[in-house]
């Protein structure tokens, strides 16, 4: 069974498999984004207190959720690489970092832009915002460490260790609003316990979240395929399939 898994996760098979999935994922992403944007920006009602400014929610929340999700994927992929030394997990971990950093940056910036009219301040040093900022530094540190070490294999393993060490930040970000009194809103949505958001706002948010997830999968596949092409450019399968690549 392990042999079958190792064969499935070879560069060549991943490349082929993701190549078939990519157009579908791209199309689904586009549809979800268009639906979510129209629903969130046009159809959804205005908030009683914040009027139209709350619509930033439809970007801010999915970006923040993705920043955490992508980091976990990156760290898990790194752990798989450390334990089983598979090549694909190394490629996936590296492909996660830039997009994860972008999601984190967007969460921070849209949060600041939203916070300014709502709370009167662009920034506050509470637990959630501070730990989200730390997350951005962790992503940047991952990329910096990986590019600083010359030997590619060592770089991948060192970066994987860093990613795993930084995992401790994720629960801090997630639970900080419950642990400390903070400016940031307490979680209104939780798995299993439903949400305190009104359905007219909840569903467009879910659509946008799905859109971001499919977007991430699409970008991840595109970036990973590029890295595979670069690493294997002199290999047999690339040469043979040259026309179909």
């Amino acid at each position: 069974m392990w042999k079958a898994i190792k064969r499935l996760t070879s560069f060549k098979n991943f490349y082929r498999f993701s190549g078939k999935l990519l157009p579908w994922f791209g199309a689904i992403t586009l549809v979800l984004f268009l639906t979510g944007l129209y629903w969130g920006l046009v159809i959804a009602p205005i908030d009683y207190l914040q009027k139209d400014s709350y619509r930033i929610l439809y970007i801010h929340v999915p970006a923040a959720w993705m920043s955490l999700f992508v980091y976990i994927v990156m760290a898990a992929s790194g752990a798989i690489h450390l334990v089983w030394k598979t090549k694909l997990s190394e490629v996936i971990a590296n492909s996660c970092a830039p997009i994860g950093a972008t999601f984190t940056f967007l969460a921070l910036v849209t949060g600041a832009i939203w916070g300014q009219p709502t709370w009167g301040t662009w920034w506050v040093w509470d637990a959630r915002l501070t730990s989200e900022l730390v997350l951005l530094f962790l992503y940047i540190g991952y990329m910096a460490l990986h590019s600083a070490i010359e030997d590619r294999a060592s770089a991948a393993r060192a970066a994987a260790i860093l990613a795993i060490v930084g995992l401790v930040n994720i629960p801090i970000i997630h639970f900080s609003v419950n642990w400390w009194f903070t400016l940031h809103q307490v979680a209104s949505i939780s798995v299993g316990k439903g949400s305190s958001l009104h359905p007219s706002m909840y569903w467009p948010l879910m659509v946008m979240t799905a859109a971001f997830k499919f977007y991430f999968a699409t970008v991840l596949m595109m970036t990973a395929r590029n890295e595979i092409l670069e690493r294997d450019q002199n290999s047999n399968w690339v040469r043979e399939e040259e026309k179909n690549l």
Partner: protein, 225 residues
Amino acid sequence: MTNTSLKAFNAMVRRDFTLALRNKSEWANPLFFFILACSLFPLGIGPEPNTLEKIAPGIIWVTALLAAMLSLDGIFRSDFEDGSLEQQILGPHPFTILVYAKILVHWLITGIPLMLLSPLLGVILHLPADGIILLMISLLLGTPVLSLIGSIGVALTVGVKRGGMLLSLLVLPLYIPVLIFGAGAVDVGLGGLDTSGHFLLMAAILVLAITLAPLATAAALKVSV
């Protein structure tokens, strides 16, 4: 820990401690930096006692943190360069035990002196006596964590040429919780509120760091060497 591991631990502690003491600049420079950097603040912000008193815990904590970080390079550098680190990894003793020993020595050489110097700096920055005591406790709990977490960063970057800046980039984000609770404990205590929450959290972070950090450091060193 088996008998031989304990002996190896003690031997490594004694060796590194002796080596560090002989290299005066390694332990003296961080302390001079600590004093100098703290002194810059009254010169830059103005010597008004009320202002300084309010920000003293933060200043002392940040400069202690930076001093500890600047001294981190010494933990593995010389052993890495002359090849002893490789021998220690390949040797018969569990490498993690040896890593523990090195981190302990770093804390003894850097962290404890920083803690002992802090009252002097507290006085310069007009920190009241209660604050100084709280400061020393917070540094006592916090500096081991700085050594432990810092060792992970050094281990990851020991093979990188001129990795000093990279080390800061990796280590400072992980230091932030320690700084927040350490300096926060002093602020809260001076305000008359209960500090037990802060100190308990710092103790918890310390326990977490002691148990997990050396594992990561050892793994990182095996990658870098």
